[in-house]
Symmetry: C2
């Protein structure tokens, strides 16, 4: 493999250019910007490595599906997504979000971390392997979806309609990072679930002069009071039954969580905060991050929010709420409990608009595929990786994998300073190059995959 | 006076054109749009009726001051403002806010009701009087300020720096209306005070991925919890000491409030609401509207509020709060009580940005100037007026009048469907013409002003 690694280093500039090309193409699924052009960029890169590419239609944006090396004994799948989050607030970006800029050893661009960096690293790894060694020893499948940032509404449709294309022996999932100061790579075995909703409260049919607030109901106040019943200052979520289905952590879970890297001082400095929620630190912090559900206000808006003052009684108030779920919570049940809660607390007039939901997902840490990935990480990185029971974020893994026993592992090129979903998203160039190498190593080590061992641990 | 009234009716189209010219000139003080051009419009109209016009500099927008008929025994002052509220939300306007449009007997334009309609009615009345009768029997002063919609920060400066220009025997204030179905004119004797502030809560230095909400504080939640401590669902304001200084209503106050017109069914239909706050109606509703203080969310904003979903942990949350005050609450004390309240409830990190404040103001209902105005209303309108102890809205009256014993009365051309501060602001053309007539009647009746009676009742 050293020759492949050497080739990757020698051609780093080319692989960086490929990534820049991918990042410079906007592809904001929430706003339908650049999605068609982005597909063409993907098809070109997949075509260049000899993949057979298909555009699998869905009711939304299509899945770009590729296959390479048909006929080998084992199959490895790469799941990635080609859409990105909206780039606002634009005024906080130091360079154009869709014009990648290299500063201080990093590439700054919307999508560089989430997750065009990973997507391109997979493609570049295969390219390098082919250039140095030739034909791949395994089959490779690519599942590149265009709706991950809006909750992957059609990924389940893909899994149901194309069971042959879903069939695989292991999946490298998108979304991996490493720590900021502690540079060990994170190997993720799962994700939290999510239930994302918008609550809407309506008042008079249009905004009124605020003097009328003496006698006319204010939907902003009603929404505030409703929200205050959902979670208290001790961060306890007050929805009846919310915690009922949560599995307590196993000893293995706790052991994995305990080994997780989290440089509290570095994060505090990075985010300019004095401390963490509820003053947690150490193992308690790691457990909150990976194993506690959340209820988060992602956005709230009512009335006049511009410059200066305006004496207005708003006619509408809206809030976007994001619940992160842990095994075995489900988004459907949480949405129902929320509806019940609002009704029981006298807020039956508040409308719930479901946005997207996702189940939690965890791969068994003893699966031999996990060992393949760990071996590959050892081949490339100086330090041993950190194994995460699950990431704090969510992912549509369950939509492809629920009902199968396919193992999925997350490794990637981002780091904890990558500003996911925020201004100045970026990755380190070094991480990108390492990410190409580790993908190449997985392809090679996959032949050592102890397939027969799987039945023992499932 | 019938000749003057006839002249006004015969020249209605011209006076409407004058108003349209004034409305079509934007003059948004909060955003510094069109203010300079608006001054020139005023100077032209005041010049046309022979007034000596001065631009009185302040640290903000100047006061356009005019005098007419120097040397007469008595002086009447017209206070108006030439600035208007911002016009958003623009998408709810049926015609351009700054391109006045006549539909169904109404003039639709930002500022038509608040208060270019009143301002122009005063000028037109003098014009008509001059054309028909000639020289005015009284001195007239015009105080047209440009900062009413941002809290009149420099009107007190005017009163202090120009005591000679302030000197007068009575003021016709801006802001009058009539009911929607019950068409009786409202004669207002005062206003509520106001304390308008912005609260700001800060979290991490930039927006983060919402998965981090498990361990990083969310300023939106903190602001929600803080707001929920300010007012409960029973509409009780929970700030300690908030109600302490309020004067209980006198029997005269209650009597005036009881005679107030309020067509509850019409308002419910107009605003598309099922009922009023706390299910009040009748005298209880009128007392809430005129004599109860309020705490109103005029605007709140945090995180992502655009289309679609964005999984973000906000770094900032802001709310605009408007307290309406009644005698003898003061904005300074309310702001201090709010600061104390936040600190006592563990929200010392929430910053208070003062925006503007105003004291409540009430003219003695027995003042003979009130009788002059009531007589003039009788001369023009078929039905007797409704006398309001005070309007539900606020006004900078106290800034000119505190420490003097000058009586001030509000009459005007708007109605309860005028959409003050909201989209599709409008007045009826008929009300505008009547407003010109009643102003002319006040000028005439002012000679019957029983000046000597004033000392008896003060």
């Amino acid at each position: 493999m050293q020759k492949v690694f050497q080739y990757i280093e020698d051609h780093a500039d080319m692989y960086i250019d490929w990534l820049i090309e991918a990042c410079n193409q906007p592809s904001v699924s929430a706003q339908n910007r650049g999605m068609t052009d982005m597909k063409e960029v993907l098809k070109k890169f997949l075509g260049n490595i000899g993949a057979d590419v298909e555009e699998l239609a869905t009711k939304g944006y299509p899945i770009i599906y590729g296959e390479l090396g048909q006929g080998k004994a084992k199959t490895l799948t790469f799941y990635n997504h080609y859409d990105v989050q909206p780039e606002d607030p634009l005024d906080q970006w130091l360079s154009e979000p869709f014009k990648a800029e290299i500063r201080d050893g990093r590439i700054f661009a919307r999508g560089s971390a989430d997750n065009k960096g990973n997507l391109m690293a997979r493609i570049c790894a295969i390219h390098a392997y082919q250039q140095v060694i030739g034909e791949l020893p395994i089959n490779v499948k690519f599942v590149f979806e265009g709706e991950e940032e809006v909750g992957s509404p059609h990924l389940e449709f893909f899994a149901n309609e194309h069971p042959d294309k879903l069939q695989t022996d292991g999946i490298i999932w998108e979304g991996g990072t490493r720590g900021a100061e502690d540079k060990r790579l994170h190997v993720g075995l799962g994700v939290k679930g999510i239930c994302y909703v918008e609550l809407i409260c309506k008042g008079a049919k249009n905004d009124l002069h605020s003097s009328e607030a003496a006698i006319i109901e204010n939907p902003a106040w009603r929404l505030i009071w409703a929200l205050a019943t959902l979670k208290n200052e001790q961060e306890e979520i007050l929805i009846k039954g919310f915690y009922d289905d949560i599995a307590s952590l196993s000893e293995t879970d706790k052991k994995i969580i305990g080994t997780m890297a989290y440089d509290e001082e570095a994060i505090k400095k990075l985010y300019a905060i004095n401390g963490f929620l509820k003053d947690v630190s150490g193992d308690a912090l790691k457990e909150r991050l990976t194993a506690e559900p959340t209820c988060t206000i992602c956005g709230i808006e009512s009335g006049y929010t511009g410059e200066g003052s305006k004496t207005v009684l708003p006619s509408l108030a809206k809030v976007k709420l994001d619940f992160r779920l842990v095994p075995y919570q489900t988004p459907d049940k949480i949405a129902k409990l929320l509806r019940d809660h609002l009704e029981q607390n006298g807020f039956e007039d508040i409308e719930i608009i479901p946005s997207h939901g996702g189940y939690p997902f965890n791969t068994n840490p003893n699966d031999p595929f996990v060992k393949v990935v760990l071996q590959s990480v050892d081949d490339v990185y100086e330090e041993p990786p950190v194994i995460l029971r699950n990431l704090a974020g969510s992912s549509p893994m369950y939509k492809m994998l629920r009902g199968t026993n396919i193992p999925a592992v997350q490794i990637g090129v981002a780091n904890s300073q990558s500003n996911y979903h925020a201004p100045n998203e970026n990755i380190f160039i070094d991480d990108y190059i390492q990410g190409i190498k580790v993908t190449a190593a997985v392809i090679k080590n996959f032949n050592n995959y102890l397939y027969n061992q799987r039945s023992e641990i499932l």
